[in-house]
């Protein structure tokens, strides 16, 4: 099956029906292994057991940005290539991305209180992630506000591309400004600075949460395709009744 075949919603639904059980199974196994490894990970010499919050905070923070990246590619698909599934992908991803961003903010806050002595600080990293969360909400509101999916898709695609400017700001905020948030310790020049005892569970959790996103996203895309079929059938019904 080629990428062009996937432009056909019926073929996409067929692929999704076959892939979802395997993806769900792989996600469950990886997350179970990840949670076990996180539980068994040693305490940090400075942070004690609170380092365990890292294993849920970092994957959610990574996905908060990754999902917006996926939506940015989908926005290009809508505006440049006019791929029929691009706006379906973008619309389906937004609530899932908002949930991951919310979790990144709240788990970060719960980690910050014992480590920094405060739940919140208006520093560059925290504020830019809060802006990302508000942009997710704005995008979801935009999709709901416009009835016609193709008109909503173009407006949402433009907003998504504008919002993508925030991604490098989030990533490099800890380097560009003096922040409470620690600098990157996994994706950095010179390799990860984390000890293997923390790095391996963190990578397993990151892959597990990424697979969770892929699974939920495919399922939400399937729902969106069905919703559009409902809409077109309702419009056909209305035109038949009017005739």
């Amino acid at each position: 099956m080629t990428l062009i075949d996937l432009a056909n919603p019926t073929k996409f639904l067929s692929l999704t029906a076959r892939a979802l059980p395997w993806l769900a199974g792989a996600t469950a196994i990886l997350l179970l292994v990840g949670f076990y490894q996180a539980a068994m990970a040693p305490d940090d010499y400075q942070q004690g057991a609170t380092v365990k919050i890292m294993f849920v905070h970092v994957p959610n923070a990574w996905l908060a940005m990754f999902v917006w990246g996926v939506m940015t590619l989908a926005a290009l698909g809508t505006l440049v290539w006019r791929h029929p599934l691009a706006d379906v992908a973008a619309k389906a991803a937004a609530p899932i991305g908002a949930a991951f961003t919310f979790l990144a903010l709240v788990t970060g806050s719960l980690w910050g209180r014992p480590m920094w002595g405060t739940y919140w600080e208006w520093d560059a990293r925290l504020t830019s992630v809060l802006i990302l969360f508000l942009m997710y909400l704005g995008l979801m509101a935009l999709w709901r506000a416009v009835d016609d999916p193709s008109r909503a898709a173009r407006a949402a695609a433009i907003l998504t591309l504008v919002g993508a400017l925030n991604l490098p700001i989030i990533k490099f905020s800890v380097d560009w400004w003096n922040t409470l948030h620690q600098p990157a310790s996994v994706m950095r020049i010179g390799g990860p600075s984390l000890d293997r005892a923390f790095l391996i569970p963190l990578l397993v959790m990151a892959i597990g949460f990424t697979l969770l996103f892929v699974t939920l996203h495919l399922a939400a895309m399937r729902n969106e395709i069905l919703r559009r079929r409902v809409r077109s059938l309702q419009m056909m019904q209305a035109s038949q009744q009017a005739a």
Partner: protein, 58 residues
């Protein structure tokens, strides 16, 4: 496994993540059932796709 003096922060973080993930899964599952139910109702009322295939066909 001892979680130390900040156990409530750790447990709350994991519980919240689990709760939101479960809510997402349930929300998507309910939405799927709702869309299929609507399609079945529309087809039962005699509205069909231009292709002639059933709307719930995958």
């Amino acid at each position: 496994m001892s979680l130390g003096p900040y156990a409530s922060f750790i447990v709350t973080s994991y519980a919240l993540v689990a709760a939101i993930v479960v809510i997402l899964i349930i929300w998507i599952a309910i939405d799927y059932r709702r869309q299929r139910e609507r399609l079945r109702e529309l087809e039962a009322s005699g509205v069909t796709r231009r292709s002639g295939r059933t709307a719930t066909e995958i």
